[in-house]
Amino acid sequence: MANRIQINKEFVDIMPQDYLDLVENGTFESPNRGWKDFGTATELIAEHSLCAGCPESIAFRHIMASIPNPEDTVMVGSTGCTSLVFPMIAVHNIHSLFGNQNAIATGLKRALAVRFPDRVKDVIVLAGDGATVDIGLDMTLQSWFRKERFTTICFDNELYANTGGQESGLMQKGFLAKMAPVGKRFDKVRLPEIARESGCDYVAIMTASKPSLVEKVIKQAVLIAREVGPTYIQIYTPCILEIGKQSMEGLQEMRTSEAPGERFKFREFISPEAQSFLDGLAEKKKAEKIAATT
């Protein structure tokens, strides 16, 4: 399956330069791809129209650098700020409606399994907290109940950013926002815990402040989804605009929120099945290393 991403020779002279760059210097089919490719490789995400300094775009870059098999990965988005980025990523991706992303991914993953029974095809959902937890919660949970084999990533900015900062289910209690004129009256929905109880084999809650950690989590989540069962990652991507921060303050906001005792302190749940799968992977890697050195 090597060199699947290539340009037909007859078309090379008419292809745009950035497409040639993508094929020449992109990281498709690169076995050890990760955040370390930043700066030297062509990223699988191009210019996008998110706000200057948006932590969501940091997270998006880290994720696109970390997915293990981009040449066989299809992503599903939902309506929101991410729909301004999806058209610019270099893997097939679907936007259909607002909130049905896990239903789309279910059909997608199953149909790919029917069409390519002997091949790996990863499916990753990436949607905001409104889509994941509010309007799409039914489909989010049901896909986990059914143990659908894909990864769900929630970009949690604790509000509806794209429509102008309205209250969302993942917003903190007491936060004053549009549609929460006297402050949000109920607690931040505990989706990571719900995910664990709903059948996810791997759950992580985090921020995008450390690319190496994002890389590790994304790789684990995708591989576990492929081999064991559904996985869920909730990443804090604050909307600096709506919480009144400057464009350069997003990183600090993430760091503050992941401090011990804070709501985005890194937590991970790994089911026993997923753990033994990960152990197997680690052992295999170790054996490979030993074989390589001897």
Binding site: N100, A103, G107, R115
Partner: protein, 406 residues
């Protein structure tokens, strides 16, 4: 480009894993021997799907389609359908169907009434995304208080979704429309979702004689690489689709894109005509086109109209019929021509809105000739005797008026 033929997919002349012979569509439709079978509409849905090489189907219970989608599940258990699942709601079901269609699968689902409306947001999305999904709508009432009775009001909501809509009169139509529907909907220049509509209970739960194609012959598989838009399976090299996404942009490029795309969907519906006309033997069927009184109808109302015409014939009155097979594309020219000589055009319908009468009124000239009715709604049947009575009443009224006004 990954347009190589997948060796896993049996081609025409080969047999699939169930031993069915993959048959050229036209041969299957017109040359295969047909055997009579006495079946309910729900069973007919199963039998059509058995012969349709379906990759993926999603089910969710709602009366009156539940039986049909359970039967498709049995086909899956037998190995005729690639994958099958129960969705969590119609909105999700249609999303699951969309996901599978995006992945290049041939997809089937069925719903009815409130389910159709719950799923509604998906249908224009399907059309806009050019997903040739087939859904059978076994139409029923959508009003409150709760009803599970047949009523065709739900079709009025479907008309502008950008889907092809074919309205089956009988179980036979249902069988043929389902198989032929895939063929037309998947043509590269059409490539749109198709709603095959049948009237709940009147077709789904009624046992009727259907001429079936052989059980061991099936349609060729869907080829997703003939789609006019990219199939989302990462087999065709990816491309960053847009420099500047159209979503939420207010500029003329964005307006033009959205306007032209919508027009393109409608144009694709019109382009389906040339494939549909030979397959369905025209978008309409006409009986007694020279009659002064014409009945124009779709679905079960056609059957009831046929019986009314027999009753009129016994009374020595010649009454004509236009059966509309496809609501989208709407057979505008055909209806104009078929009703040219008519003095009175009656449109019997199983709903209170009279949406078909409205469509016809907006289509033909001298539209004062169109009488919206008779109507029944809420699940009531329309006995042919009542059609006759209504028409006679109307005609008598007209005669009286003419007498009075000279």
């Amino acid at each position: 480009m990954a347009t190589q033929t997948d060796s896993r997919v049996p081609q025409i002349g080969q047999r699939n894993k169930k031993g069915q012979l993959v048959t050229d569509p036209n041969e299957l439709f017109f040359l295969s021997p047909r055997t009579p079978s006495f079946l309910t509409g729900s069973e007919v849905i199963r039998e059509a799907i058995r012969r349709a090489s379906v990759d993926f189907s999603v089910a969710y219970p709602i009366t009156p389609q539940s039986e049909a989608s359970s039967l498709v599940g049995e086909l899956y258990a037998e190995g005729y359908v690639g994958d099958y699942m129960r969705g969590e709601s119609e909105f999700a079901v249609m999303g699951e169907c969309a996901g599978a269609a995006f992945a290049g699968a041939r997809v089937f689902t069925t719903t009815a009434g409130p389910g159709t409306l719950r799923a509604f947001e998906n249908f224009p999305m399907w059309a806009g995304s050019r997903l040739p999904i087939q859904v059978v709508f076994t139409v029923r009432g959508v009003n409150s208080p709760l009803t599970i009775q047949p009523d065709t009001l739900e079709i009025a909501f479907m008309l502008e979704t950008g889907m092809l809509l074919w309205h089956a009169e009988s179980a036979q139509d249902l069988f043929d429309f389902m198989l032929k529907g895939y063929y037309v909907a998947e043509q590269p220049e059409v490539h749109l979702p198709i709603g095959v509509i049948c009237d709940g209970f009147f077709v789904t739960h009624t046992k009727d004689m259907v001429m079936m194609t052989p059980e061991d012959r099936t349609l060729p598989h869907y080829d997703p690489y003939r789609s006019p838009v990219v199939c989302m399976d990462m087999e065709v090299p990816p491309v960053r689709m847009m420099r500047d996404p159209f979503v939420m942009k207010s500029n003329y490029i964005s307006y033009m894109t959205h306007a032209s795309w919508q027009l393109e969907i409608r144009a694709a519906i019109e382009r389906s005509r040339k494939h549909t006309i030979p397959l369905l033997d025209g978008l309409i069927e006409v009986e007694n086109s020279d009659a002064e009184i014409m009945l124009v109808a779709s679905g079960t109302a056609v059957s009831q109209a046929r019986e009314a015409i027999r009753l009129f014939r016994d009374k020595g009155v010649r009454v004509g019929l236009v059966k509309i097979k496809t609501l989208r594309p709407f057979p505008t020219e055909e209806i104009r021509k078929a009703t040219e000589h008519a003095k009175h055009i009656f449109v019997p319908e199983f709903n209170v809105a009279g949406w078909l009468a409205r469509e016809i009124k907006s289509t033909i000239d001298r539209n004062h000739r169109v009488v919206a009715g008779p109507h029944v709604a809420g699940g009531m049947t329309m006995p042919p005797e009542i059609i006759v009575e209504e028409i006679e009443k109307h005609m008598a009224h007209r005669r009286n008026k003419e007498l009075v006004h000279g």
